[in-house]
Structure formats: C-alpha cells, structure tokens
C-alpha cells in the first residue's frame, strides 16, 4: 500500500504548511470565537428549557436505547416518505463520518503533535484509508443535500409550503418566509463546505503534483482527484494552485465556522434537540395523558413557562418536515389547525421570550390569543386527539398532551364551545354527555328476550362496561343488543352496571376537564369495587382506552378487553357457535382509540377473517388510519356545514374502492359519524356502515 521507498510518516496531508504566524493565530482565534458562540448558544437554549416547569424522566435507559435504534435504523424518518428518509440517512451517516474525521485531525494535528513533536497516527496507511472513507462520505453528503434542494425547489411538496391556511395574507405570521430562507441557508452552507472541501483537496494535489508522496496516492481521494483532473485540464498549474490555496483554505474554514456558530440558533440545532426529544418521548402519551394534580391552585398551560422543559425542547426539535401536517384530519378538512404550526408558534413564542436575559412580563408569555405566535382557541378546539401527528413525528414530539394542557386552562376559564359546555354540564349532572336520565342507560336491554345479569348484585366472569354513546345512541344500541346475544349464545357469564355506570370520561379528559374526569372515574371505580368480576369488556374503544390506561392512576386496575379481542379469543376457542360464514368484501376502518392509541390492529381483522369476510384495505390504514373526526370531544361540537368533514373525506376514500359492500367500524363514535357521512356523500347505495359485532352476530344460527 505504502511504497517502501516512501517514509510512511510523510504520507499525510499538509494542513497549515507555509502559513505565516499571523494566519495560524487568526485561524485558531476564529476557531475559538466560533466555538465560543456555539457554546454560548447552547447555554441560551438550555437556559430557555430550564425556564419551563420541572419534569422528571423515567425509563431514561430505554429512551436512550430506543433513540439509538431510531437513529441507526432511521425508521422514524423512512416512514411514509422513504426517499426523504434514505437521503437523510446519507446526510446523517456521512456527517457523522466527516465529523469524526475533523475531530481526528484536530486530535492529532492540533493537540498531540504540539505535545509530542510529531503526528501519532494520522499518516501512512491509516491516513490513506481515512482519506478514502471521508472522500466517499463527502460524496454521499453532497448527494443527500442536493436531493433535499431538489425536493424543496422542484418537487414543490405541499407539506413543505409554510404559508399558513389559518392566517390571512395580511397577518405577519402568514408567510413565514424566514423558514424557507433558513432551510436554504442550512443546505447551501453545508453544500458550500463540501464543494470547497473538494476543491481545496484538488488544489492541494495539483500544487504538490511533483511530490510522489502526495501524487502517487491521489486516488485514495477519488472525488478530490476527479476535481483535480478537471482543474488540471483547465490549465491550473502547480504555482497557480499554490497561490489559490490560501483563499480556498480560508473560505472553507470560514463557512465551517459559520455553520458551527449558527448551529444553536437555526434549524441545524435539531442535530441535538431531535436526539434528546427522541430520548424523552413517551410513546404512550396520547393513550395515557399526563396526570395532573387536580387539587392544585391552577392547572393547565396559560403561559409558555407553564410547559415543562421537555415540551419546550420538543418545540425546538421540529424540523418542519410536515408529516404531522399531512396526517392531521382537522387540517385535511380545512379546520384552523396544523399540528406543525402549533408547535412552531410555541417555538417562536418561547424563542422570543425565554431566550432573553430576563423573562418578559406575564402578558407577553400568554400562549392563547389572537396575536402573532399565539395559539387561537379555535385551533385548540379543532383537535380530535387522534394522535396521528404524534404517531408519525420523526423526532418524537408529543403534540396531544401539549394541546390538552392548554385546553385544561381554557376549561378553567370557561372558554369553550357552548355545545361542549352543555355536554360537560350533562356529565356533571347525569353522568352521560347526552343529557339523558340515568335510568335510561340500560333501556336498550329491554328489547332483548332475556335478562342481563346485574353485576352490582351477582358475581360475573365478565363485566361489560357499555359506555354512554353505546348505551344511548339509538343506532349503536342495536350493536349492544347483538353483542349481548353473542355472549348469551356462547354461554358467557356476563353482566352490566345498569344505571350505576357513568361515562368512563375518556373524552372529558381529552377536552381538558380534569376535575370532571376524576369525578367520573372515581365514581366508576367505586362502583366496580363493589362488584365481583374477573375481566372487563367493552365495545367502546374510548372507554377501553381510559379504563385500561388511565384508571390505574386513580387506583382502578383492571384486566380490560375490547370486544373484538374477546371475540377473537372466543372464535379461536370455538366458543361461539357459528352457523354460517359470510361471503362479503368490506373495508375496515381502524378507530383511533383501538388502533393508533392501543396498537390493536389485528384483533378486528382476524375476527373478520375467521367469519369469512374479505377485507380490502383503504390506502390509509392501521397506524395511518384517518380519524372519523369525533375524538377529543369533537363529537359534541357540530362541524360547520360548509366544510368537508373528516368523516366525509374518509367515506370517499372507502367509496373509491371497487367491489366492496360495507364499511366496517368498531366504535360507537365512528359509527355515529359514518352513518351521517355515508348519506351526506351519497355512498349509501353502495356501502353499508356496520359494526364488526353485528357481522359476527349474523353468523349465529337463527332462532
């Protein structure tokens, strides 16, 4: 590899050879200044996060392991945008190599050499391999960056357009052209560092072309050598190259210093913030919202400093990639909400206030309002807490808990849609959101030709928590009757709580009425404590979610099953006497609370499969399923009539599939939404909205 005639110590790269003293001094001074700016920037950022509320981390080890896995596999970046993910991987891994390379040179040239008087390892074979690897890494880096430029300039992706749909053109935060400038600055800065690096390399090769310890080994820098060949063909001589060298060297160094000093203040900071965000993320948070002390003087987020440091850091991790913007059902329907814009508004608000030496006066810290970088109430009330944003965020931002935290403060101040207020008052008075008398709760059982056991009085194996929409919505009552017949026919020992059951409170919690949630949950927990049962089952994914994930925080620990999980188990055990199978082709809609929030995608599909139903998937399914629009309390608020509702968009997605005859749901709220949407989109001659439970019941023997 190294020619025996050459001294291996000599086969290295000259760095500051022939530099006059002032030049070396200036260089180290510039390096020091840019590093100092970098560390000052980091200090400002950390001080900003520290101005948020304390937050103690749990599972930090697992967080780190998960982050490393995310990083090495780039799995969060490849999802639903494969080419962007792969190109980012090129940029990331080559950046890491180039960074290690720079550190290596600094270590040997700037630290060890002055101490020992000679290079310790950066020469000979090691140097040649080093040179080769970094040269290729630089190429990969450039390809990745050029793709990102192409993506911004020519692909014109809607998700990369930062103009806001919830602002008018006159408003100062409508256009956000600074963000575009920042993107391009980031890309150009890196591209220029890369190109000048190659040109500098080529220039050095030409300058030293007569030195065999340089020229003979030139192909260990293949890309640099190609540049050199090209420059030579343009008659660049050794002398010319020598005189050109100083300019190139300084230009390369200064653009690199610029990058280092800007890093904590620009988009580039996601290099750090995204990693920490991935470590501290809580994947379960839309399913189990953070608990709050309901007895505290005030709860929720009013001021930007009411967020905890982790949430402030999340806002800085956002790279504006727009995946959440695309996934959000409210945004798709034209509601004034984009999860990305909410995060970015909060970021700007915290940058403008908490980066200052002194924290400004309280009014300037207010999160909700009509001002620039404030969140409007209608934005907050547009959210369906479906978790689609959080699911797809590549850097682990938790939008939903932040949304709910602000809502908690709005609820305290009584700032909400009158329809939500009515629902909450009904829940306070009657334990259900519809405002029906408590005694009506079990009225649906009267149509059955058998009695359902009263779980309050007799021990049961399976306690069925019916849920208020399931109990009181006339369409869904039929599903309850079907489920009762399935359980009865299969000989299951089950019972319900009749009028003692209250709303489980899942949506109450998501609206932000924490006190009412606790009241409902504590009442249900008290009722359940007096019952003798082994497991809880429910057809309602909302009740399922909160009973399973959130009641434990208030002392209610249960083994909770969704109806489809129970039915799957019963079908596997041949416990349900099926008289026939169905020959239907359907499409299946994942409800957010069973699917995305609780990751149960298979049970409903397997149930459908075992009764002979063929599923044709919609383009958006499983973790990418599109919310019906009813979550987060939106079922209580009528949608404006002049928009296409999320349920209608979803129904059209289903109706575009050829050869299916049903739209299968597994949730009372989805059913309510889609029964309307199937009519309003004119799909009712083609599709029937039906519950999985009803399809299973159709397979039982006729009486």
């Amino acid at each position: 590899m190294i020619n025996p005639e050459h001294d291996a110590q000599v086969v290295t790269r000259i760095v500051q050879q022939d530099f006059p003293l002032w030049m070396s001094v200036t260089f180290y001074l510039a390096a020091f200044v840019s590093t100092a700016i970098f560390f000052y920037g980091c200090y400002i950022q950390v001080r900003k996060y520290n101005r948020g509320q304390p937050f103690s981390l749990t599972h930090i080890k697992k967080g780190i392991v998960d982050m490393i896995k995310d990083l090495l596999s780039h799995r969060t970046l490849r999802r639903r945008d494969r080419s962007a993910g792969l190109m980012h991987a090129l940029i990331f891994f080559s950046f890491v190599l180039l960074f290690i390379g720079t550190v290596t040179i600094t270590l040997d040239y700037d630290i060890l050499r002055p101490i020992t008087g000679r290079m310790i390892f950066w020469y000979g074979e090691f140097y040649l391999w080093f040179s080769f690897v970094l040269d290729i890494a630089g190429l990969a880096f450039a390809i990745g960056l050029l793709y990102m430029m192409y993506r911004r300039k020519w692909m014109a992706l809607p998700k990369l357009n930062y103009a806001r749909s919830d602002r008018t053109q006159e408003e100062p935060d409508y256009d956000r052209s600074w963000y575009r400038f920042e993107d391009w600055l980031f890309l150009w800065n890196l591209v220029i560092i890369m190109i000048t690096g190659y040109v500098l390399e080529a220039d050095r090769l030409i300058w030293l072309q007569d030195d065999p310890t340089v020229w003979d080994y030139r192909w260990w820098s293949p890309v640099g050598t190609l540049f050199a060949e090209a420059m030579k063909s343009m008659y660049l001589t050794s002398e010319g190259a020598e005189s050109f060298r100083y300019f190139l060297w300084w230009f390369h160094a200064l653009t690199a210093f610029l990058f280092v000093s800007l890093l904590p203040f620009t988009k580039a900071k996601h290099i750090f913030t995204a990693l920490v965000s991935l470590v501290v993320r809580n994947r379960r948070s839309p399913a189990r919202l953070p608990i709050t002390d309901a007895t505290a003087e005030s709860i929720g987020v009013r001021s930007i400093t009411d967020f905890n440091w982790k949430q402030l850091l999340h806002t800085d991790a956002c790279t504006k990639c727009g995946r959440c913007h695309e996934a959000c059902p409210a945004n798709a329907s034209g509601f004034p909400l984009s999860p990305r814009d909410m995060i970015l508004s909060l970021r700007e608000l915290s940058n403008n206030t908490l980066q200052k030496i002194k924290i400004p006066e309280a009014p300037l810290l207010k999160v909700v309002g009509d001002g620039v970088n404030q969140i409007r109430p209608e934005t907050l009330w547009s959210c369906r807490t479906c978790g689609a944003c959080q699911e797809i965020c590549p850097v682990g931002i938790e939008h939903v808990p932040m949304m709910v935290d602000i809502r908690r403060a709005l609820i305290e101040e009584g700032e909400m849609d009158p329809a939500v207020q009515t629902a909450l008052q009904n829940l306070q008075k009657k334990g259900n959101s519809i405002g029906e008398n408590k005694r009506k709760r079990a009225a649906w059982t009267k149509k059955l030709d058998f009695d359902i056991k009263d779980a309050r009085k007799k021990p049961v194996d399976l306690l069925w928590f019916v849920g208020d929409y399931a109990s009181l919505d006339p369409r869904y009552q039929k599903v309850c009757q079907s489920f009762a017949r399935i359980l009865k026919t299969s000989g299951v020992d089950f019972g319900i709580l009749f009028e003692s059951e209250m709303s489980a409170g899942n949506d109450v919690r998501r609206v932000g009425e924490e006190g009412l949630f606790e009241y409902l949950a504590e009442n249900n927990i008290k009722t359940l404590a007096d019952c003798d049962f082994s497991r809880i089952v429910t057809t309602d994914p909302h009740s399922f979610n909160t009973l399973k994930n959130e009641y434990s925080e208030l002392g209610g620990n249960y083994d909770v099953l969704h109806a489809t999980q129970l039915v799957r188990q019963m079908l596997t055990d041949s416990q349900i006497p099926l008289a026939r199978k169905l020959s239907k082709r359907v499409t299946y809609h994942d409800s957010c609370h069973l699917g995305r929030l609780n990751k149960e995608y298979d049970a409903p599909r397997e149930v459908l499969g075992s009764i002979g139903v063929e599923i044709v998937e919609m383009p958006r399914n499983r973790d990418n399923a599109f919310c019906c629009g009813a979550g987060g309390g939106r079922i209580w608020t009528p949608d404006p009539i002049d928009i296409e509702k999320p349920s209608e968009l979803r129904m059209k997605e289903a109706a575009s599939i050829e050869g299916i005859d049903a739209f299968v749901v597994n949730c009372p709220k989805c059913m309510n939404m889609f029964e309307d949407a199937v009519k309003s989109t004119g799909s009712d001659d083609k599709l029937e909205v039906i519950e999985i439970i009803e399809l299973v019941e159709n397979c039982l023997a006729d009486d």
Binding site: A294, I411, L424, Q428, K430, R439
Partner: protein, 265 residues
C-alpha cells in the same frame, strides 16, 4: 357597589315521576336538583360587572334553602365571588314567593346591597314573582324580563332593556337601587369546572336563619305565604291520532272527527 344575586336550587323531573302522597308536590325520589337556569344568567351578569369594575363591585350569591342547596352556591362561587350566604330554617318549608322575598329583602338590607339581580322565573314553580315581591318589600324600583342592562357603580339611574311580546324591546330608565329580574340570553354563562366547584368549598358561606334578621316564624313559611298549594296533578292528555290511508280516506276521517267534536253525530 354591592350586588346581591339570589339563586335557587330547582327540582327537575323526567317523564317518569310520581306525585307525593299528600298530592301537593312531586315525590322527592323522582327529583334531580340543579341551579335554576335563569340564575346562571343573573350571576354571569354580576360576574361581568365585577370583571369590568374590579374592586368597586362586590357580588354575593344568596340562596334560601337546606344544606343540599349549598351546591348552587358552590356552582356560583366556582365562577367568581368571594363569599356566599345561605338562609335556612325548618320554618321556611313551604314558603311561597312572598315568604322567600321577605328573607331576600332582609338580606339585601343587612348587606347594604345596591342591586338585587334575580332570574325572571324559576323553572320548577314558575311564579316569576320573587323579584317583584323583593322590590315591593324594599320599596325599590323593579324591572322584569331584563334583556340588556347598563350598570355603572355610583349611577343614580340605570338604563335597562326589557323583552316584550313579539320581539319588541322596551328601553327604560330605573332609579337606583333596584331589583332586576334577568331574562335568558342576556349573556353567555360560563362553565364551572368540577375542579373550580371543589375549590369553591374553601370560600366562606354564611349560614343564617330568618330570625337573625328579625323575622318571626309567622312571616315566613306557609304562614307568611300569600298563596298555598292545594293540589298538584297531571292533567288528562287529549288523544292524538295518526290518520292513514288514501287522501279520500283521510278526508273522510277528518270530517268524522270534526263532527264528533262539534257534537252532532
């Protein structure tokens, strides 16, 4: 400026209910309780005034009712105000509007109130008389069915809009002090979060008896009332009939019914 807001806990019933054995009221087993809807609006008006004028305005909710009625005061205090007053004594059972007004008027005097804001009526008994009686007893001005009001502290007189038949509004000036009976829709009452209601328990509620104001048992309760419930019952429902068939058949049936009702068969 001090504003006294009498609020009432009302009983609500569903389709299923039974009348008490003595036939004078609904059986309590079938009653749920809540704050009278109108009183949400009068309290909201008081809250808005306090928010506008700050410490220049003191607002006090008052209820005349037993222990359980304190819930309505908590509901009010969850939204604002610093203290509440509840007046009760067993002698107050079966009071009518006049007897209740005796108590409210005494509290208003005792508190040196400048205004008393009542609801236009209460949804359970619908007398719509309490506010008027209070004004009479205090010898203050009274305006009923108030749909808009402009109160400023220290004003000698205030401008009030009243809602009349057929959507007509009447604008009047009223001398201060005054009793105003507030109509629904005058504002948008806020929501009292359950947390707020729990926290309101820390605010003081003064519990008093009519005797503390120098009223005798004879001035309140059934004895102090000007009216007395004799009987409460559900009137017979008239029959409704769904007429089906062809147009000719339907016309024939309608003619029969008309004849039946006219009495010539």
């Amino acid at each position: 400026m001090k504003i006294l807001v009498p609020v009432k806990q009302v009983g609500i019933i569903d389709e299923d209910y039974e009348i008490r054995d003595d036939g004078k009221n609904v059986d309590v087993d079938f009653l749920d309780y809540e704050i009278n809807e109108w009183d949400n609006y009068s309290w909201e008006l008081a809250l808005n005034l306090q928010e506008t004028y700050g410490e220049a305005v003191e607002i006090v909710p008052l209820t005349v009712g037993p222990d359980e009625a304190e819930d309505v005061l908590l509901n009010c205090l969850a939204k604002g105000g610093e203290r509440g007053i509840r007046v009760w004594d067993d002698a107050l059972v079966d009071s009518d509007s006049m007897a209740i007004a005796q108590v409210i008027a005494k509290v208003a005097e005792h508190e040196n109130a400048d205004y008393v804001l009542t609801g236009t009526l209460s949804s359970d008994h619908s007398f719509a008389a309490t506010g008027m009686c209070v004004a009479g007893l205090l010898n203050w001005a009274h305006a009923a069915v108030v749909s808009k009001v402009d109160i400023t502290p220290d004003a000698q007189q205030i401008t009030v809009n009243r809602e009349l038949e057929a959507g007509i509004e009447e604008e009047i000036t009223v001398e201060s002090p005054a009793v105003l009976s507030i109509q629904l829709g005058i504002n948008e009452p806020r929501y009292a979060s359950l947390r707020g209601i729990k926290q309101a328990k820390a605010k003081p509620v003064e519990v008093m008896s009519h005797k503390d104001f120098g009223l005798t048992d004879a001035e309140v309760g059934e004895m102090g009332s000007l009216s007395k419930v004799r009987k409460m019952y559900a009137p017979e429902h008239s029959q409704a009939e769904l007429i089906e068939g062809t147009v000719a058949e339907q016309a024939k049936r309608i003619a029969e019914i008309v004849k039946e009702l006219k009495g010539d068969t």
